[in-house]
Amino acid sequence: MIPRLNMKALLLASALAMTGLAAPADTLRVAMGFDPLSLDPIASSDNGSIWTQLLIFDTLIRPDRTGEGLEPGLAESWTVSEDGLTLTFKLREAKFSDGTPVTAEDVKFSIERAASEASGWGRFYRPITGFEIVSDHEIVMTLAEPFTPAFNNLALFAAAILPKAQVEAKGDAFFDAPVGSGPFMLKSWTRGSRIELAKNPHYWQEGKPHVDEAVLEVVTEPSARVIKLEAGEVDIALDPPLNQLKELDAKDGITVGQTIPYRADFVQLNTKRKPFDDERVRQALNLAIDKDALVQGVLYGAGKPAASAMPVMAYADPNLALYAYDPDRAKELLAEAGYADGFEAELLVDSGAATSRNAAIALQAMLQQVGVTVKVQMLEGGTQWETTKSGSYDMSVSYTTSDTIDPDQIIGFVAVNPERANAYHTEWHSDRLNELYAEERKTLNGPERGAMFQEMVQILHDEAPYIFLYHPASAWAAKDDVQGFEVLPTSNFRLEEVSLAD
């Protein structure tokens, strides 16, 4: 008899041989949905780049795990003067991954670079006008006028500390093979496919990272990330499809987790147009929406209802109540405003965002209950932005995320008018809120500043230039032997905390 070739065994053997080569035991493999574009902190705004940079570079101070406070990074301690004009930082004994020490010179260079014309984040750092290098490990920054967010903004990735000598010598080429003081260093980068990181032997946190290597696999398709996890090709899958979370959690060997990041989803209302110029109509729309149903139906439970357009972050008021679901009261308010028979309006939505699309359809049904007929108009994301910016819209499903832990950025964006986006193109305006905004920026961090934020958010809530929807969670799924992984409220993750149990 002629022996037949066993194709299955052969292929299986070659598959095993290849996965065996690719992954030594202490390599942590993460599937993420974003393709990092650049490792230059001042030129980045995409999640893939930012998350990778935060593994390679350090900042002076960094958001803590709760996302509401700050903790030491490269600076082991700091003081802010009474008038808020002088920031003093004491640096710890830290080294870049090539063994050279991190000095005050590097700090000055990096922050000046972040404030430069070439920086996409210049406005965050330009208020810092003076640098005084006291010693290799002490630096004093001065501001010309009080601007409280300047300090918190130093915790942003764009203020990553880079080795001055190397960046100056290599120019843009430095960022193809960057050197930082963070927990990992870049081992290889296959654009569009994967980033391989190796443990930084000089990292200042003793004993971390726990793993020797980490691989970030770019897998843009959410279902494909989950499949990779189930096939054992990765240890962690970020942002799995929300409708698969329950099923995944029920699987043996897989654990699901979630964090609510700094994000709020809402519907912009064009307050320049009738009937949205009437506060009662806007409140009625908020009362007509069953937010819990949205969270269950659209987010599959992964999120919580929102009471305002501000993400839940520092100084958030835990007592701020949601607009209750009350269609009867909504109808009353509409009748008071002269719209007893309801009205028709157009709702814009980004055709590429599945969650927003589903939300739009649910909103259409809920608003119909109070007599408001909604026409859903799907647009490509860029077109939607241009349309709302030009003011030719009624309602638009949108969201905001915060880059920094300071709530100043987002309140300025969603509620202040005139400002960067004129209250995110709602053109809504509150004199009291504008006053508080100007004041808050000059007030030192503390309860007084906190009270100002709470009052601003209360005004935003009451006058409702948006239909407030929800805060969606960032989810992840990991193998059971992955320990210590979590997505932070700032959306990034600290792989140096993660270990693999065998």
Binding site: M18, T190, E380, G382, D403, R420
Partner: protein, 311 residues
């Protein structure tokens, strides 16, 4: 022949000028701007203006167009706003995977289509022919994303024969890793080839010169291999040509699901982020590729069929 090829290459010049102009103008009227994409939606008007200045988007349109032409001529095709790299470098990093899928899927398609076309032609009108045709019609109609997931579920997750996606290092690793994506692309090519080749075979078998050959006393097998098959394959050449042009930029769905960093996903990502230089550069690059592929197809035609002349 060489003169004809040279002539065809020269004809590329006006075509390319037309394409650069068209792609440039179309992007001008496309809404959305890269500055607000890059800065998030939260930037101020001054910041957006500063970014546009940095990227040269504030210059007059005709100046931008001339810069674009210069970049095309010098071969860099411009510099990406977001990747900060020359477009030719971005293409060079991804082209091998795309070309691998082109070649791999074509081999798979031929391996599947040839036997089935011959078999079906030989049994024209009989049950086997009808059954094969139905199967291939289903293959053409099958949405690629569905086929991708079915193959992943059965062959990758179920049997464990293949990885679920991604690319590896080295020829052998990629031969293994790129099999499933190439199979998806190859199956629909195979369906197209099978249908046209079957028809061509049947046509050729009825041609007069085949009767002549038979009358000369040639054996059936010899007639088939020397006369019927070569003459029928000419239609297959043009199908492969058209498919290759399409695969180079059109396999986004397959690339996304199997995490293959190919040219199609590069283009789609660039469109979403409004990376204008990449969109423009790639459009021109794709156009050049299509023209070259067509030229190669025509040359193959001329080589296969002496009656065809390159003009």
């Amino acid at each position: 022949m060489f003169l004809a090829i040279l002539k065809r290459l020269l004809m590329l010049v006006p075509v390319l000028i037309g394409i650069t102009l068209l792609s440039f103008l179309l992007l001008q009227i496309m809404p959305g701007d890269p500055a607000s994409r890059a800065m998030g939606t939260r930037a101020s008007a001054e910041e957006l203006e500063a970014m546009r200045q940095l990227w040269g988007l504030d210059r007059p349109i005709w100046v931008q167009y001339l810069y674009f032409l210069r970049d095309c001529v010098t071969g860099s095709f411009g510099v990406s706003i977001f990747h900060k790299q020359p477009i030719i470098a971005l293409v060079a990093a991804r082209l091998p995977y795309t070309l691998a899928i082109v070649a791999y899927s074509t081999v798979i398609a031929l391996a599947i289509a040839l036997p089935f076309a011959i078999f079906a032609a030989a049994r024209r009108g009989r049950l086997a022919d009808v059954a094969i045709r139905q199967v291939f019609v289903v293959l053409i109609a099958m949405p690629p994303f569905w086929l991708c997931y079915v193959l992943i579920l059965f062959l990758a997750l179920g049997m464990g024969w293949f990885p679920t996606g991604g690319v590896g290092e080295g020829f052998l690793a990629n031969l293994h890793r790129l099999f499933l994506p190439s199979l998806v692309v190859g199956l629909s090519t195979a369906a197209l080839i099978q249908q046209s080749l079957r028809a061509a075979l049947i046509d050729t078998m009825q041609a007069d010169y085949i009767d002549t050959a038979r009358a000369k006393g040639l054996r059936g097998r010899e007639i088939f291999l020397r006369h019927v098959l070569p003459n029928s394959l000419i239609s297959t050449i043009s199908i492969i040509g058209v498919r290759v042009s399409w695969i180079i930029g059109g396999t986004v769905v397959v690339e996304k699901i199997f995490s293959v960093p190919g040219l199609g996903s590069l283009l789609i990502d660039a469109i979403v982020s409004r990376d204008l230089p990449v969109i423009r550069g790639l459009t021109v690059f794709f156009a050049v590729m299509v023209v070259i592929v067509n030229l190669i197809t025509d040359i193959c035609y001329a080589l296969a069929d002496p009656r065809v002349r390159l003009e």
